[in-house]
């Protein structure tokens, strides 16, 4: 920045700020559109001109979680009055909630897929970050023969297109009965994230001064004690950041889940697109499912904002 600002520079600065705002709006528009469609009544989801101002509704979320069928005739006034608010919302949309013989509401496929996503993403994150932290410490503090080659090997496993890895994994899982199981996907995601976690954690470990442990060793700590009592607390921020990255990767993963699961252990990413079958999909329900699914990641992005650069570049660039 020049010491003296000319008037043309100030004008340019103003133009740039306006441009930045415009770009931000354009980039966020698709996300806004998902969020707003999730609260629209069905008939307003696909209109020309697009509906921007509307009375937000909760009905897409009710529909997201329940099984429904078309109403052949409108419900009787008594039936309508007796129904709880969330059922009335569905009646208003010309559908009814499917109940079993005992009158129990039937759930849609979404909640179980969401739960599968949670179980698989959390478990594989814990495993990948746990193992990765130990390994990163090993690489950071001790001399390892062929270290550069080993680290390259660890990284390269992650660089392969998922379908390349998925073909043999599918055959092996089929042979041992791990297809469409939670454990199968957890193992895959752990392996997938482990390399990332080793690389990222090694960077964080390198930053912890080794003098800390040396002081502890002199004080009579064993190496193990020094690791758990000195190094781990120092690495807490790095571990948290790595964990969030691993979680997001596992949470968002599509190709492996598509190939390895079909019902029992299916996660949300292959499930949500499968709802857009033939005919006219109800985009409000898809938007509601998408909205709930994106929400945790959006929150994590804000928490992670100071570590994003480092994580996305595999620790190559540190701020």
């Amino acid at each position: 920045m020049a010491a003296v600002r000319t008037s043309s520079e100030i004008t340019f600065n103003r133009v740039a700020i306006v441009a930045v705002l415009l770009v931000t709006i354009i980039f966020l528009a698709p996300i806004y559109w998902i969020a707003s469609t999730a609260f629209k009544p069905r008939n307003l989801a696909t209109t020309i001109p697009p509906t921007v101002v509307f009375q937000p509704e909760i009905s897409p979320f009710v529909k997201l979680f329940t099984k429904r069928s078309q109403l052949r005739s409108p419900p009787s006034p008594e039936e309508y009055a007796a129904a709880p608010w969330w059922e009335r919302v569905v009646f208003d949309g010309g559908e009814k909630i499917v109940r079993d013989g005992k009158g129990q509401v039937q759930w849609s496929g979404y909640p179980s897929r969401f739960l599968n996503s949670l179980i698989i993403a959390i478990t594989s994150t814990v495993l990948a970050v746990g193992m990765g932290t130990f390994t990163a410490y090993g690489f950071s503090r001790f001399k390892v023969k062929g270290e550069a080659d080993l680290l390259f090997f660890i990284l390269s496993t992650r660089m392969l297109p998922p379908v390349v890895v998925a073909i043999p994994m599918f055959l092996m899982y089929r042979a041992v009965g791990l297809n469409d199981t939670h454990i199968g996907l957890i193992i895959l995601y752990t392996a997938f994230n482990l390399s990332f976690s080793v690389w990222l954690m090694k960077g964080f470990m390198d930053e912890i001064p080794k003098e800390y442990e040396e002081a502890a060793l002199v004080d009579g700590y064993t190496r193990m004690e020094a690791f758990f009592k000195i190094v781990l607390p120092e690495a807490a921020t790095g571990i948290a950041a790595t964990a969030v990255f691993c979680f997001i990767t596992a949470w968002n993963e599509y190709a492996f889940a598509l190939i390895m699961t079909n019902r029992r252990a299916q996660t949300a990413p292959p499930f949500i697109p499968s709802q857009v079958g033939s005919g006219l999909p109800d985009w409000t329900v898809i938007a509601a499912g998408t909205f709930l699914f994106l929400l945790p990641v959006a929150i994590f992005t804000f928490l992670l904002r100071n570590h994003l650069l480092r994580g996305m570049s595999f620790g190559a660039i540190r701020k």
């Binding site: 698709p30 090993g138 297109p161 379908v163 599918f170």
Partner: protein, 301 residues
């Protein structure tokens, strides 16, 4: 990568006598991970290398017959497969160049005192953190010729984005540019903020024009970090599966990953798809090797 060495324990010390030796701790910490990766990453690849020389089909119970290099020969002589590679190359170029232009452009705009800069940067980064498959699906609605918001906003009438064979690949690339430009922007911002301010001051004193300043100061100093972005995005774009698979079924947008998926899990040509996977694998390893070498070079700086 310099290994930080730590002073080894005096063998006679109390702590050394109580705890595990450094060597065994090192092994304890590293070997399980390496073993795990060998079992779940390397072993499957060896397994599929074997199948790549057979006519095995996972959909039947027929035993696999050894066919030698037949699969590789067929694949490399198949114009269909070559067209998949050509489509992938086109996709990689369009989407990476697009991301580079948009990402670097936005970073140049952002590289000044702007109110709420931190918040704006974080908001811009949101697209790349989201699930490609799930957000990609929603772009189907945005691209819809009759009620898509994009056609309405740009006044394009009933323009076909995804159903037009010529347009489909570009539509996928456009979504990819939307998702990943922020990544280039993030790296560029880091590069731009590292350019020493006194260089610009010196240039201003010398009355250097904005073009001269940009091409002689800004660009050369940001280039190494931009290179990281390019390599990283090239590899990811080469691997693309989710986005293209979900958005379109046009043969003109059939990337190599999609061809591989269809070959393996729809046509069930397991042996041949293993061979194909190996061709892709060798290409990726070559790029990765260059990438890691470059990464280490940048790190050392």
């Amino acid at each position: 990568m310099a290994t930080t060495m730590i002073t080894t324990l005096d063998r006679s010390s109390r702590a050394a006598a109580r705890g595990l030796s450094d060597i065994s701790i090192r092994n304890l910490f590293i070997i399980p991970t390496v073993l795990f990766l060998i079992v779940f990453n390397i072993f499957p690849l060896i397994y599929s290398l074997g199948y790549s020389f057979t006519d095995f089909r996972a959909s039947t119970n027929a035993p696999a017959n050894f066919v030698g290099l037949q699969n590789y020969r067929d694949l490399l002589n198949d114009p269909y497969v070559w067209s998949n590679f050509a489509i992938t190359a086109k996709y990689v170029i369009v989407s990476v160049v697009g991301q580079l232009l948009v990402g670097f452009g936005v970073a140049m705009l952002l590289n000044r005192d702007i109110p709420l800069k931190g918040l704006i940067t974080t908001l811009l980064l949101l697209p790349m953190m989201l699930s490609m498959a799930v957000v990609g699906l929603f772009w189907k609605l945005l691209y819809d010729p009759s009620w898509g918001v994009i056609n309405y906003a740009l006044g394009l009438g009933n323009f076909e984005w995804l159903a037009d064979p010529k347009m489909a690949l570009y539509a996928v690339a456009l979504t990819d540019i939307w998702m990943w430009s922020p990544f280039v922007m993030l790296l560029s911002l880091a590069g731009l903020s590292a350019v020493p301010k006194h260089l610009y001051e010196a240039a201003a004193i010398d009355r250097a024009g904005p073009f001269y300043t940009f091409f002689r100061i800004t660009l050369p100093l940001v280039a190494p970090i931009l290179m990281i972005a390019v390599i990283f995005r090239t590899m990811e774009a080469f691997k693309t599966f989710d986005l293209a698979y979900i958005l379109t079924s046009q043969p003109t947008a059939e990337l190599i990953s999609i061809r591989l998926y269809k070959m393996a899990f729809q046509e069930w040509q397991t042996g041949r798809s293993c061979a194909m996977a190996y061709i892709v694998l060798i290409m990726v390893l070559a790029i990765t090797n260059i990438y890691v070498k470059y990464l280490n070079k940048v790190k050392e700086r």
